[in-house]
Every structure is written in C-alpha cells, then in structure tokens.
Amino acid sequence: MDNIDNILNNYFEGKALPEEENRLREYFRNNTVLPQHEVYKPMFAAFDKEKQIVSPTFIIPVEMNNQRMFSFRRLWISAASIAAIILLVVMFFPFNKNNSSAGDYLVFINGRAVKNPEKAQEYADQMFTQADEIIRTSYKPLVEANAIQTKMDASKIFDDLAHTIDHIESLNQ
C-alpha cells in the first residue's frame, strides 16, 4: 500500500487532494489497516466522532418577537400613514375638554404641579408624542446596536454586515 503511505505523507504536509483525503478516510474506516497505520486509526475515528455532534434546538420565535420582525421599509411607510391619520383625527376630533379632568392626568413640570386640566393634558400629550416620535424615527436607519441579556457583544459583526448589505441592496436596485 505505497499509495496510502504517499497520501499520508501529503496529508501531514497539508497537500493532499480532496479525493486523496477521501480515500484515506475510507481506508481508516475499514477494520483492516496495516500495522504501521494502526496508530492513525483513532485519529480518523476522532474526526468521525466529532462529526456526529449535533446542535441544540433553536425554536423560531413566534409570539412576542413577531412584533419587531418587520421590514423596516414597509414599517416606515406605514408609520407615515399612521401619522397622517393622527393628524386628521386631531383636526376633526379635537379634544372634548369636558371629558378630561385633573384626575386623568398628573403633571409636574420642573417639580411643580400643573393644576389646570387643559394645560396638564397638553403637556402630557406633548411629552408622550415627543417620546413616540423619537422612538419611531430611531428605527429609520438600519444602524443597530444590540446587546441583549448575555454578556456577549458581537454586534459589530452585524453593524458592518448591515452596512455592506444595505450597500449591496442599493446597488441591486
């Protein structure tokens, strides 16, 4: 079996061809190998054994996470139309001042209570809207820094790739 010895040599030099390596693997999977090759049998067996390792199960999220898995472009367009609706609603259905009372709102500006119900409502709405707007616009560019519960922080991979992919996508359009 000079051939096997040749291939083994190439193997350890890192120069064996894929077909040669296949032959080698097959050879060592057989029970009969030459005595001088016995020593390598467990090595190839070890490789075969590692190949049998299987991953844990990943359960594709369905419930909670669906709400954030939207195409951002689609979302942006939809968010714009929502904003339009809000505007229309405000125009045609101005707040009925009789409905609101101080009890519905609690407002402190710089530590001082705003007693006037209308003002209180106005300030509250303003603050909430401002926050909503920031949140909404924060999703616009696909720059995401995400470090979830674990201590891992591999977000850089995705930052770079997101940029690359955006670039590729824009080239493809």
């Binding site: 909670m64 001082r112 603050m127 926050a131 820094a145």
Partner: protein, 139 residues
C-alpha cells in the same frame, strides 16, 4: 394625587415606579402621568412599533413618563444608572436597543398574566426620558 399614585403602583412594578415617585416632584425633572387610554393613545400606540402584530389584545391602563432635562453629565449618568438598576430589579427584559444619531432608544418589556409593561428608555445628550406603558389583557 395620592389616588393617582395608587393607580400607578397597581401593576406591581415596584422599583421603577419608586423611581418615578422619587423624582416626579424634583425641579430638574418633568413628569407626566395619564391614567387611562384616550382616543389619542390608541393612535399613539399604533405608531409605537412594539404593539404591531401582537396577537393578544391589550388595553392600555395608563402611561407615565419622566424626563430629566439637564446637561449636567453626572446627574444624567447617575439617573441612568438608577433606571438601569430598577429595570433589572423589576425583571424587565431588554427587547431592543436602537441608535439613531444622538438618540439611543432602549425598549424593555415585562409580561405576566396580569398584563404587559413596556418601558422606553431614551437617552440623548441633554435629556433622558423614561416612559412606562402598562396594559391589561383583553379588549
């Protein structure tokens, strides 16, 4: 005012709520609390990405927000840390962090049989805003 506070603590958030209580009358902060959903809220929620596509239906049971309008760095940092500690203590789950320019928006969530609590933690130079939206299950 005490009645309002009672409403505020209904959904047993504890630490975060306490933080709101602590600073609501602090002159360096603005605080707003809205007890129940109005028509405006329903639309505002639609604009809030987090509620899109939820299978369960929830009704808003109120929202509150505190904002620190100060450029004083150490105050901002210590407040942000307090918020972070409170979120951890209350076992909120981080949902996402998004950064856009100067704004950094972190959203958190906590679900239970009693309902849903969502927190948005917005940081930018010069202001920090923390909002808490609470929801009860059902229409």
């Amino acid at each position: 005012m005490f009645m309002a506070l009672a409403f505020v603590t209904t959904l047993s958030a504890q630490q975060l709520e306490k933080l709101f209580d602590k600073y609501m009358e602090d002159e360096r902060f603005n605080y707003v609390y809205q007890k129940k959903a109005s028509m405006m809220d329903k639309f505002a929620d639609l604009g809030n990405m987090e509620t899109w596509g939820t299978d369960k239906s929830y009704t808003s049971t109120g929202r509150q927000m505190i904002s620190l309008n100060s450029t004083e760095k150490s105050l901002g940092e210590s407040f942000a840390q307090e918020v972070k500690n409170a979120l951890q203590a209350d076992k909120y789950e981080e949902v996402s962090i998004v950064r856009n320019g100067k704004n950094r928006v972190e959203t958190y969530e906590r679900k239970s049989d009693k309902g849903l609590s969502k927190v948005s933690f917005i940081k930018n130079p010069g202001s920090i805003m923390v909002s808490l939206n609470t929801y009860a299950p059902g229409k």
